[in-house]
Amino acid sequence: MYVYDAFDRTLVTERVAEFRDQVARRLSGELTEEEFKPLRLMNGVYLQLHAYMLRTAIPYGTLSSEQLRMLAHVARKYDRGYGHFTTRQNIQYHWIKLAELPDAMADFASVGMHGMQTSGNCVRNITTDQWAGVAPDEIEDPRLWAELVRQHVTLHPEFSFMPRKFKIAVGSSSHDRAALRTHDLALRLHRNSAGELGFEVLVGGGLGRTPFLAQTIKPFLAKRDVLSYVEAILRTYNQFGRRDNIYKARIKILVHELGPEAFAKEVDAEWQSIKDGALALDDAAVDEIAARFRYPTYERLDDGPPELAAARRANRSFDAWMSNSVANHKVAGYAIVTLSLKPEGGTPGDATAEQMDAIADLADRYSFGEIRVGHEQNLTLPHVAQRDLPALWRALAAIGVATPNVNFISDIISCPGLDYCSLANARSIPIAQEITRRFHNLDLQRDLGRLHVNISGCINACGHHHVGHIGILGVEKNGEEFYQITLGGKADENATLGTLIGPAVPYAQVADVVEDIAAAYLELRQRPDELFIDTVKRTGVEPFRERVYATR
């Protein structure tokens, strides 16, 4: 947990004052909507179909219980009693009134939160692995570096009006849980052949209408150089990124048009002139930020306490949840617990104020007051003693966040779609809900195994459909909702873009198509433990295409 100091608190307080003034000028008519738009966007305020939408950052997905209670408070006081966790470790409220926005922001600021740069053409919320600091396969906690970069780019005077938005992710594990290669810029901590820790730097990833996976432009960057190198990338992009066409303005197009080598050369020339200047990090500066991270004081415990094994034997439901939602922790005797926000028939990523309050209380009791938000739109309690798992499970089940479907077909990533979003061509949420109903049988879900369904309601790809094992993209044809289906995408360390299987299908047939694909997989797989994604890789999409379109 990063704890704000006087600098951080002052900045967010001043930000609220500035935004209050901007809203007052908009309400008085001094600012036109066109002039107000970039200002509100830089505070995470969108105008959607029905109301303003407020997006608040959860930097690198880490929340304290106090902050989660504030998310609940804002949901209750200013919205309709719920919030929506997004694929970028943010939370969104969809029913906020313009005049009340400054008060909601002041409430967030009181717990060290803000919506700065959660939209607009600036550096967005910096994301990382939701298991940061606790994953057994991690080299070093990536959040220190995410925080250093976060601070550096916050209200950056040069990079607040770039050609387009800019998303950064930081990773540090052999398993990529942060979808690094879908980002404009990814920093991956690793060890070079000399045993030193540094970053692999990848640029130019992004989904949307022209999906690209990020390419490596620097295999190893010393830690001291991370800020200067990021600055050089942003400066290159700010000057040379396209501004003539919004669909070609992301850095991926610049990298693609120049080629990664030429882009890297341009960045390197700029970097050489600044690398030994004010941005070179020294140990004192890094230590100062590192010291603001608070870590739990773990008890000395053994793995696999006998009461846990007994509880698993005694209760089949608990055992199923243990197998599905609980992961190994780097500290003996502890576990990482994922809370599914994907109940049958629910909206992926939504949580009510009551659920948030209850989870905050459970975090205080069982997880050192800490909660994480992951890009799959679930929550995590990162530090649970294994002996507490039975009691925690009962409490989570009572509030509806213990569905043992994590990473299964009903653990769907979905954008808000046409139910809320003014950009959408088609609905996403009802498609997700129908799929969860079709696959409500947990034994069937377990049999299907790991299977990621990602749904976007338009080509902007907020639901990451390109990297879903099954990707579903809503399009509009003659005023009706149709959906393109892709197979074989993945967002992990072997990231791949999915392959389109054929013509788009109408709204009413999407869940049927997903059922057909699941049935085809069960027939095609060579062994029960061949995952869906591996079957698609082995067979290609052709047998799935045949199955889906045979009767359509």
Binding site: L39, Q239, R243, S273, I289
Partner: protein
């Protein structure tokens, strides 16, 4: 459009000269980039302060040989959202050590002032009179900054590692 320098609304001493208009003698002038580059030797020998209006899609490196002769460089914001000139300002100040006047022109609005000052601008051709009057208040809005930039403010990271607490008063001067 009111001009703001040193935090106050001032008269503009410079005359803007188009591509084909005669250049008045002994008067500060701002000439377009193309005209300047075509005739830089003669223009820099002329008596009177010289400024150049630089478009945001040309590399500022082209100006390097002449920086010592330019009293003013006007960098343009065709739209509020087009931020290329912020990079140009920082490059001129920090990379090329340009010490003359950097003027922001075009769609220059109140909510950019703080960014502009920090990027190294010290002259502001402000679009709206009300925004020009609010200049001092706007640039005083923030008292802490995370990153070093062209205006020489000490960023939070350095202040922290030097154990100097936030003074809580504005550090921006314009």
């Amino acid at each position: 459009m009111p001009l703001v320098e040193n935090g106050r609304i001032v008269e503009d001493r410079y005359v803007r000269v188009d591509d084909d208009a005669p250049i008045p003698e002994r008067v500060p002038v701002i000439v377009p980039a193309g005209r300047f580059l075509a005739d830089a030797d003669a223009l820099t020998r002329r008596d009177g302060s010289l400024g150049v209006a630089w478009p945001n899609d040309r590399r500022v490196a082209e100006l390097q040989p002449w920086l010592g002769h330019l009293a003013l460089i006007a960098l343009h914001f065709p739209k509020f959202r087009d931020g290329r000139a912020y990079s140009h300002a920082r490059l001129l100040r920090e990379h090329y050590g340009y010490g003359g006047t950097l003027r922001a022109t075009g769609d220059v609005l109140r909510d950019q002032f703080s960014f502009l000052v920090r990027a190294g601008f010290n002259s502001f051709d402000v679009k709206k009179a009300a925004d020009a009057r609010a200049f001092a208040e706007s640039v005083a809005r923030y008292s802490v900054f995370y990153q070093p930039s062209a205006d020489g403010t000490v960023p939070a990271l350095r202040q922290r590692s030097q154990k100097a607490p936030a003074a809580g008063k504005p550090r921006v001067k314009a």
